[in-house]
Symmetry: C2
Subunit: 387 residues, 2 copies
Amino acid sequence: MERVAIIGVGQSEFGELWEKGFREIVLKAGIEALEDAGLEGKEIEAMYVGNMSGGRYLAQEHIAALIADYSGLSQMGIPSTRVEGADASGGLALRQAFLSVASGLHDIVIAAGAEKVSDVGSEMTTDIIASSADREWEGFVGATIPALYALMARMHFTKYGTTPEDLALVSVKNHRNGALNPKAQFRREITIEDVLRSPFVAEPLRLLDCAPLSDGAAAVILANEKVAKEYTDAPVYIKACTQASDYLALQNREDITTMRAVKIAAEMAYKQSNLTPDSIDVVELHDSFTIAELIAYEDLGFVEKGRGAELIREGITSLDGSLPTNPSGGLKACGHAIGATGIRQAVEITYQLRGKAGKRQVDAETGLSLNIGGTGATAVVTIYEIG
Amino acid sequence: MERVAIIGVGQSEFGELWEKGFREIVLKAGIEALEDAGLEGKEIEAMYVGNMSGGRYLAQEHIAALIADYSGLSQMGIPSTRVEGADASGGLALRQAFLSVASGLHDIVIAAGAEKVSDVGSEMTTDIIASSADREWEGFVGATIPALYALMARMHFTKYGTTPEDLALVSVKNHRNGALNPKAQFRREITIEDVLRSPFVAEPLRLLDCAPLSDGAAAVILANEKVAKEYTDAPVYIKACTQASDYLALQNREDITTMRAVKIAAEMAYKQSNLTPDSIDVVELHDSFTIAELIAYEDLGFVEKGRGAELIREGITSLDGSLPTNPSGGLKACGHAIGATGIRQAVEITYQLRGKAGKRQVDAETGLSLNIGGTGATAVVTIYEIG
């Protein structure tokens, strides 16, 4: 396998982008990534696009061809492929792009992720997001995604003594970080009381335990190590990018306080990169709900099962802790632009490892990102290292 | 790159499968492929799934996780990835699976394609299929997919003298072949008069110029050459599997009688396989509309631009001609189960090269398949050879 480096990153703003179309936000992210890399579109050899539900949000499938067209890349005829795994779609695009360079097939590839959700109503949005879970066994009987995560939280409370205050601390931390990120959707701090006074969405999860669903796009340009050196003095190497699956419906899982796909993908990623959880300096993970961040601490091997809350209580995952997690603000404060999120995480890790993360900069030479689809049936773990 | 062989193939029936669910038809195709290969599910290392619009047909995204779950493959945690490129989704799944074995990453991978379209009404189906074209520049102003292909046909008539009778001959041939295929949706012959008396869908295209939209699934199992030999005495090698893009909207293309993505993908495939159009013995191509088959003859290099109709007039592409094309009956008679079609084509070529195609058997050692997305913005060309 060839060594693969990130040589350019870009992202649009995340949020309710009423005045912008899907094409515009994708193009903005792509152009920013090209400019960051200092290369021209015609040097790109292939494109992978992560998008969950263009069919329902935009009445548009064939999204990868659309983006190749609008960005001018179809003039060269390059292969452009959409991948989908609910809100892990961005991570899947990153992984397919990584594999296409690691295998020696291509030298320079772009991975993008995008979603435009604002143009449909909130009821339809709830239904679309529920299509990331099992429609026949979960959605049809009324389970929404917040409701399914609420079951996981409730079980975590019962088995391990995790509390609503622990969940609130996750949200408070991520908002504190997001306040330092110019591209975050919510750039303001909140308090534990704010979280605990916010209305229930699905008990015990309150409004401020839930990431927003956002419009947004992000892009990264990957290159073979040899080519990368022509474009950048600070290549961020991808040491591993692994993917695993779990049962789609919660009812089939042995333990709903664990995401088995995360554990499997993480174990593979550590093995492939010859790293251990201890050696990771910065983490971007999938806090679609606060409980998901605590479960991820455990399943990524940072702490043993059931003790995730200790990391947030003790400030270990704060910006000034020993394992800063979601320095960007995470999904909670950055916004969760579904298919874009997995790519946005790679953008943040790249900024951090380059030392270009501004006020939210941490001290880091290695990074890890975790992107999850739905309630964890798909997981992608990526490990990065500055060259 | 490692040599990649098809070691197992399977497909469900195609058609209006009212009594079967999406899961059942996918599972049927998958189990048939496993039995054909003589292996167990736990030997599969990864899965790629082609599906165009589960979000709208089934209110279900995250289709690859669903299939991994329902087939028991998520028990092993293997990566399962949906790819989408409109009705080229199956071809994209085949290509990603091919690349994952060719690169040495995996030894045994399954590529599946599936679509369940019957459960929504025909008006919605028309709109969903239109989402494979450019929604903002084409669909929004009323252009349907048949209407866009009608423009291509009209231009081909004007520039090259192709006639409605030529189109009808394509449909007659494909129905004649389909009548010999037990898994075809339409197993009856039709006449030129039947076609020319059928109602217009979008002038000059009539009902019998158009492939149906069908429910169906298909699966192929790919293996590294070394592994393949443990499972089969008749491996069908994939010599090349290439993909290219074109502008999504017809308005941006220089010439709407050519599908540039097909030309680019075909040229790459011939080059990679060290073969020429002359050396191809059997073809499965994307006759979503009769005009698409004639244009494909030209863009695949079997005849020069504008002279596609000669191949059908002279019987060259008939079952007993020198370049038998769509021996399965093609999309027209087999049915077009959108995301499944690219995989179904690989299934047919495999049967043909193994000499197991029953009454529709042709004499062939090399084969080619062409899978197209929408009006040609995505094209996948695959070249096969019996081992």
